[in-house]
């Protein structure tokens, strides 16, 4: 008698055997998972050049025999830690840049302390970034500096570039940077000015707690955390999957608080009045119009970005005043665009080919 179509008995037996083996592996690896810590992240050798409150400036030690003239300053998003760009050897954007001959600095953030609740947008754009640029110039001996801004680090870089448009920035690269905050529809609804009393919140709590920021990110995809845990259990026999999961999970939940005054400005100027898009933004009384940016600019956006949807990011390139400007859309999400296995194949080589010829 023949087996019904599609049901090959040999392959069913093979499948059962494989599932039994995986079930055994799941039990063993499951115990290991809870008994061990995750991989060590952010371990590319670096020197700390400056620490000033929430601001940290690192210099990564060069890995090439010959480096490009123009150093790079990476400006991290203020809600997250910079090690997303330096996961583990072989999956580190920083390591990739160093091996390709770039001199890399990073402006990373630590949690603002309660007494730093009064930090304002001005402190970030008119003090921390210029201070880091000065230190990079001093350390590298070069006048020109290229900036890479990730997510809200991109917004801060744009504000800086708009105000200091006569230098010393040589090139600007933004990853998933929002311009039109109305198009971040859920965030926009969460902070609806009719119901969200930002003054009351900031006056009550000082710095905005990381739990609140994390839950607002998680609310964008409320089922995804549970689903990812189911998938983790499915794949717990697979060491590579578990390693990648742990790296991303640790980073995703390692959210930073936001300084209260800074959050107040983000809410009022960007979320409510959409000033960056409307060309009415100013920082510390200085107009920050992105049309004033003239340096070469590259904007990398992700096709499936649920945090910064394309509609929120697409106006950046048309609005900047640069003549040398390019937008690239790549497959992936907000994080997988810049980190992880797909970024290695997609974004990183593209960035290298764009930036290399503009770094001499």
């Amino acid at each position: 008698m023949n087996a019904p179509a599609g049901l090959d008995l040999a392959s069913i037996a093979e499948r059962i055997q494989s599932e039994v083996q995986r079930a055994i592996q799941r039990s063993i690896k499951g115990v290991e998972y809870f008994a061990s810590s995750g991989p060590s992240l952010g371990s590319t050798p670096k020197d700390i050049l400056a620490v000033r409150g929430t601001m940290n400036l690192y210099h990564y030690r060069p890995m090439a025999d010959e480096i490009y003239r123009v150093p790079i300053l990476i400006v991290m998003a203020t809600t997250n830690r910079g090690y997303i760009l330096d996961l583990v050897p072989g999956q580190s954007f920083i390591e990739f840049l160093l091996k390709r001959g770039y001199d890399v600095y990073m402006l990373d953030w630590t949690a603002p302390k309660p007494e730093e609740k009064s930090l304002r947008m001005e402190d970030y754009v008119l003090d921390f970034i210029p201070d880091c640029i000065r230190r990079v110039q001093q350390d590298s001996g070069e006048k020109d500096v290229s900036i890479i801004g990730y997510c809200f680090g991109g917004v801060l870089s744009l504000l800086y570039a708009s105000i200091f448009n006569d230098g010393p920035m040589k090139n600007l690269i933004c990853f998933t940077t929002p311009i039109d905050f109305r198009e971040m529809k859920l965030f926009s609804n969460f902070s609806d000015r009719r119901y969200f009393d930002v003054d009351r919140l900031v006056d009550s709590v000082g710095n905005v707690p990381p739990e609140m920021i994390l839950s607002s990110f998680e609310m964008l995809r409320p089922a995804s955390r549970a689903a990812s845990q189911v998938q983790l259990w499915e794949n717990i026999w697979n060491d590579e999957y578990v390693k990648a999961y742990r790296m991303m999970d640790r980073w995703g939940t390692d959210t930073l608080p936001l300084a209260g005054e800074y959050f107040r400005t983000i809410t009022k100027d960007l979320m409510w009045d959409n000033k960056l898009y409307n060309d009415t933004m100013s920082v510390g009384g200085r107009a920050a119009n992105i049309a004033d940016i003239k340096v070469p600019i590259l904007h990398a956006v992700a096709e499936h970005d649920h945090i910064v949807p394309y509609d929120a990011a697409k106006h950046l390139i048309p609005k900047v005043g640069s003549t040398d400007k390019e937008e690239i859309m790549l497959k992936g999400g907000h994080v997988s665009l810049v980190a992880g296995a797909n970024a290695i194949k997609r974004l990183w080589p593209k960035l290298d080919s764009w930036l290399g010829k503009r770094s001499t």
Binding site: Y68, R135, L186, A223
Partner: protein, 126 residues
Amino acid sequence: MADKGNDPAAIWQTMIGEMEKGFNSFANQAMASPEFSKAMNQVGGVTAGAQKQLGELMEKYLLAMNLPSRAQMVGMSERLQSIEGQLNEIKAMLHQVHHNSLATDGSAGAPRPPRTRRPPSEGEQK
């Protein structure tokens, strides 16, 4: 191998994926409404208000117990932070002095590579 249509593991994974997408999409629609924003911010506002009142109450309690209040601890932390900041400044200055002296001496230590790199020609790029 069994084809994907008959593979229970593949069916399960597809089902989880579809459920995730469906729930996310449903929740996103619900969360986009003004009613949701109103309800969410009412709850958030009450929590923040309660937290503020609790903070004030605790401060009075700590004072009565002759224990340092949060404000005093923050004051101490500010002083520590200022000391820490000055130490970091000194460290950064030492780093700079060391860097400059290496540059003047021309002596090794960890010399920086020359800034002479050129981008590979189009054909060489991968």
